[in-house]
């Protein structure tokens, strides 16, 4: 048996929604993280809870990209596809590398499955795949699992349900992973169902042993640990990390975290995660709709809480009136948008970056606020922490943009120590001092007094108000002054957030690539590849989108051309172009509900470099 050393690999687990592929993928990534690899994952599941079994629309996939090098994307085409049925093969075969490995569950390719997957009568997809050069390994997992569990006391259907563990074991063998972490996981999960536990453990091992004994594979792979910075790591999804960032910010600021949300894919997990932490005093409120969620948060912000609400596009639409109120009240509020495919209901389970316009411009009146974006699952913690810091210290609503890919994806995360987190100091009213609600400091920030505090009673609302006193005012000059002051306050935030900087590549590049949000990894990989190849390329990635960070113009003007890749039809692009008319921006769009492949960006940069040279 040959063992091939690899720097990185991409595996795609795919099967019916009922086949437990998400769990399988998650287990693989967990184990892989434990073994010291860097990694990135991408779950891809249908919009239906359980679309008709066996059909293509019912396929659920989980992609994991891991390596001994830094990993920033869920990878491009897969090295290995595990297809539990014909539909999974049909859906994903084109996403496998030429001559890649395809492991299939034979039991998922009977006539009925072929029919459900939409293959025409007599089609032989496995033979065709082989003919196209894929290395196809057929394993009758269904049967083997049934046999392994014949004495388990479980019924046939129940037994068969564990076939994903067989697949997992097999792939563990193939990629030389430990069984330990998954064994421990199963023990925790089924601690009160000993039969099921034993069955799962047995099947997991059967898969592993099958690899060892059956001699069906020509290779095994070895991928050593990555040279990640030293420290303690854990796996984290973006939504989890975001939730933890909120909790940490509240605790560091000495405030109660008040979270109000209405369920919506792909943001609901933030609500779920926060609901767990009642022992820390975290308040999570499932409101009757998004309007109630944002306005309840405003009530809590008035009361002195760290008020947060999260949603996705359609819910964001409903919150805009409330956000306008928060802007007028000048209260701290964090609004998280875990973006999904739009417009309207769109593609609820797919990822997209198309709510940036809405975040920056989507309110009535002159209603500026701070817009920030998280760039990867492991970045969500810090992004949330920073959003809370800005909201609390500047008394301003902050929209934090995430997306489905970041929210659901997982990565190893070198979590910080509590002590290392920067302090958060909101401009609190001190009892005994005089209070005028709209008196401001040098950064235009007003002070925050809470009901219950003696001597600071005040009334605020959505009508225009006199600066200083906060009394309602319809006065012309005051209105203009207030509109400009609210804008200036937001602009001022840029002074407190790190300058724009070149993350990777040349200081005076021919092509600068600027992005925001979840495109970070794909851009980074693309730029890195080109830098290694000697190209004059560099990357800037924005945390702060409104206002733009200090120093950005300088960086942009140094490049010959600036590429702006986005998972939309161009939203950051016009905002940049309007602000920096002299820069030669080149948009790059993808709107397919899927993240960029690094290669897609790399190619465009290369082409752009070529045209610049010929000019």
């Amino acid at each position: 048996m040959e063992t091939t050393d690899l720097l990185q690999a991409t595996i795609l687990f795919a099967g019916d929604s009922g086949d437990g592929m998400q769990l399988t993928g998650f287990q693989f990534s967990n184990t892989t993280a434990f073994q010291g690899n860097d990694l990135n994952t991408f779950p891809d599941f249908p919009a239906e809870i359980r679309a008709p079994a066996g059909t293509v629309s019912g396929v659920s996939g989980f992609k994991i990209h891991f390596g001994s090098v830094e990993i920033h994307t869920p990878g491009g085409h897969a090295d290995t596809l595990v297809a539990m049925n014909a539909a999974a093969l049909k859906k994903y075969l084109d996403e496998v590398k030429p001559r890649g490995l395809v492991v299939v569950n034979r039991g998922g390719f009977d006539a009925k499955n072929l029919h459900l997957a939409g293959y025409s009568d007599g089609a032989q997809p496995l033979e065709e795949a082989k003919a196209r050069g894929f290395e196809v390994i057929e394993v009758d997992m269904s049967r083997m699992v049934r046999e392994a569990l014949i004495d388990s006391g479980l019924g046939t259907r129940e037994a068969e349900r564990s076939k994903n563990m067989f697949a997992l074991g097999l792939v563990y063998w193939l990629y030389q992973r430990d069984l330990g972490p998954s064994e421990r996981f199963l023990e925790q999960r089924f601690y009160n169902k000993p039969e099921v536990l034993q069955a799962n453990l047995k099947v997991l091992k059967s898969g592993y042993h099958y690899g060892e004994t059956a001699e069906i594979f020509n290779h095994r792979y070895h991928i050593g640990p990555a040279a990640l910075p030293a420290g303690r790591y854990r796996n984290i999804t973006g939504n989890e990390g975001l939730a933890l960032g909120l909790i940490a910010a509240a605790e560091k600021a000495g405030l109660r975290l008040f979270y109000a949300g209405y369920p919506i894919t792909p943001a609901s997990d933030i609500l779920h995660e926060l609901s767990k932490h009642k022992e820390r005093g975290v308040m999570s409120f499932q409101a009757e709709d998004e309007i109630a969620a944002v306005t309840a948060a405003i009530g809590a912000a008035f009361g002195g809480g760290l008020a947060v609400t999260a949603t996705s596009g359609p819910g964001m639409a409903l919150k805009t009136e409330g956000i306008g109120l928060a802007i007028m009240l000048e209260l701290p509020l964090v609004i998280v948008n875990v973006q999904r495919g739009g417009p309207s209901t769109g593609l609820p389970t797919k990822t997209e970056q198309s709510d940036l316009f809405q975040a920056v411009h989507g309110r009535n009146g002159e209603a500026p606020l701070v817009v920030m974006a998280a760039q990867s699952p492991r970045d969500c913690f810090e992004a949330a922490y920073q959003a809370c810091t800005v909201a609390l210290e500047h008394m301003v609503p902050v929209i934090l943009l995430s997306d489905g890919y970041i929210g659901n994806g997982a990565e190893p995360w070198k979590f910080p120590s509590a002590e290392a987190l920067p302090p958060i100091v909101p401009p609190l009213f001190r009892e005994g001092t005089p209070y005028r609600p709209y008196e401001r400091d040098e950064n235009h920030v007003r002070r925050w007094a809470w009901p219950g505090q003696e001597g600071a009673q005040h009334r605020i609302g959505g009508l225009e108000k006199q600066d200083g006193s906060g009394n309602v005012s319809y006065e012309a000059e005051n209105h203009q002054h207030m509109v400009k002051t609210r804008a200036a306050k937001v602009e001022r935030v840029a002074q407190f957030v790190p300058e724009a900087h070149i993350e990777l590549g040349a200081e005076h590049p021919d092509v600068l690539v600027i992005g925001w949000g979840s495109t970070h990894g794909a851009i980074r990989t693309a730029v890195q590849n080109l830098v290694v190849a000697g190209a004059s390329v560099a990357q800037v990635h924005l945390r702060l989108i409104h206002p733009f960070p200090r120093g950005l113009e300088k960086l942009l003007l140094r490049a010959k051309a600036v590429l702006v890749p986005e998972l939309n039809l161009g939203q950051l692009h016009p905002l940049l172009q309007a602000t920096y008319p002299k820069v030669d921006f080149r948009p790059l769009h993808k709107i397919k509900g899927q993240p960029f492949l690094a290669s897609e960006i790399e190619e465009v940069i290369a082409e752009l470099l070529a045209t610049l040279e010929t000019v």
Partner: protein
């Protein structure tokens, strides 16, 4: 410390309702009872939506939030959850609370947070200058219904009962003494108290409640509810209400004795329902009078109590991790440099 008085609860802002507006009386009664509730201005918060009535908080020297249209209820809910110790009041109108704000209102009522909701019902949109509202009567001619409204109006108290409200009452701007009593009962109730207040908009809907305020008419049109007392009305109490099966009937006290009458039991939800349905114009021989006072009151756990109970129980049941432990989670690994 000197006991608090109305001026302690009065802000320095000019009151800006139309002269003669019923809102003035309601403001006055609220300012009068607030000092009696034992809460200081700084512990008291008024939250309103948008409408003439919703300018109310500006006139009180308490904390106040003039929100957006229809959402005072949810703003107040968030505040009360976070700060259950505050005395929280919601000010809303028939448009604000029942039209655009209907959803937030019914959900607040079912959750039963301990706060007072004063619904200023003038059966019109005042601030936007006179369109019909969800409580305007069928056939009403307004700017937006020049041929007469075709919208069947809500019965606000029936709606509240349907939404499982725990306190439902009705008051009238022009009966200050009674209104103060209702307001105090609402404040005393532990849970969401819905107080519908008939409020005259003398500019766009003058006289809507004249049958209940006019000295000549009101004796026969108002039924003043008192817990444990028989339902009786008329200038000399000459009329009574009996229940004939499930049917309420007006009877003359010449023919009936007090013992025959329906006894008001605000804890009885079915009776409250029937009372809320005394809703036709109180005109004509057998017409039922309009009930005022507390129709229904039920003691049910308050949302914020359950919430904080759960938070406390969780704190006691689970050892609180340090923030470092939380960030680490359950599965970590360490990489050497």
């Amino acid at each position: 410390m000197n006991p608090l008085t109305a001026p302690d609860f009065t802000s320095d802002q000019d009151v800006r309702w139309c002269p003669g507006c019923g809102d003035y009386s309601i403001l006055k009664q609220v300012q009068t009872i607030l000092p009696e509730l034992g809460r200081s201005p700084s512990e008291t918060v008024f939250v309103s939506g948008i409408g003439c009535s919703s300018r109310f908080p500006y006139y009180l020297n308490t904390y106040g939030l003039h929100g957006i249209h229809g959402r005072a209820t949810s703003i107040a809910s968030g505040l009360k959850m976070l700060r259950p110790e505050l005395s929280v009041w919601v000010i809303t109108g028939d448009g604000d609370g029942l039209s655009i704000g209907g959803n937030q209102l019914i959900h607040l009522l079912r959750r039963n947070l301990d706060l007072q909701i004063l619904l200023f019902n003038n059966e019109i949109y005042g601030l936007t200058k006179g369109q019909f509202s969800p409580t305007s009567e069928l056939g009403k001619h307004t700017k937006s219904s020049p041929w007469g409204s075709i919208d069947h109006p809500f019965n606000p108290l029936a709606l509240a009962l349907g939404a499982d409200a725990t306190f439902v009452a009705r008051g009238l701007d022009r009966d200050p003494v009674h209104l103060r009593g209702v307001l105090k009962a609402a404040a005393a109730h532990r849970g969401s108290s819905l107080v519908e207040i008939y409020q005259n908009c003398n500019v766009f809907n003058d006289g809507a409640f004249e049958p209940y305020s006019d000295k000549k008419l009101r004796d026969l049109s108002r039924l003043m509810l008192e817990s444990g007392q028989p339902l009786r009305y008329g200038a000399e109490g000459e009329w009574g209400i009996v229940l004939d099966g499930l049917q309420p009937k007006v009877v003359s006290m010449a023919d009936y004795s007090l013992n025959d009458l329906w006894i008001h039991q605000p804890e009885d939800r079915t009776k409250a329902w029937i009372l809320s349905r005394f809703f036709d114009e109180p005109i004509g021989e057998n017409a039922l009078p309009r009930p005022f006072g507390m129709l229904y009151a039920e003691d049910r756990p308050r949302y914020e109590e359950l919430l904080h109970g759960q938070l406390n129980a969780a704190r006691d049941a689970r050892p609180k991790q340090t923030l470092d432990e939380l960030l680490a989670g359950h599965n970590t690994w360490t990489l050497e440099g």
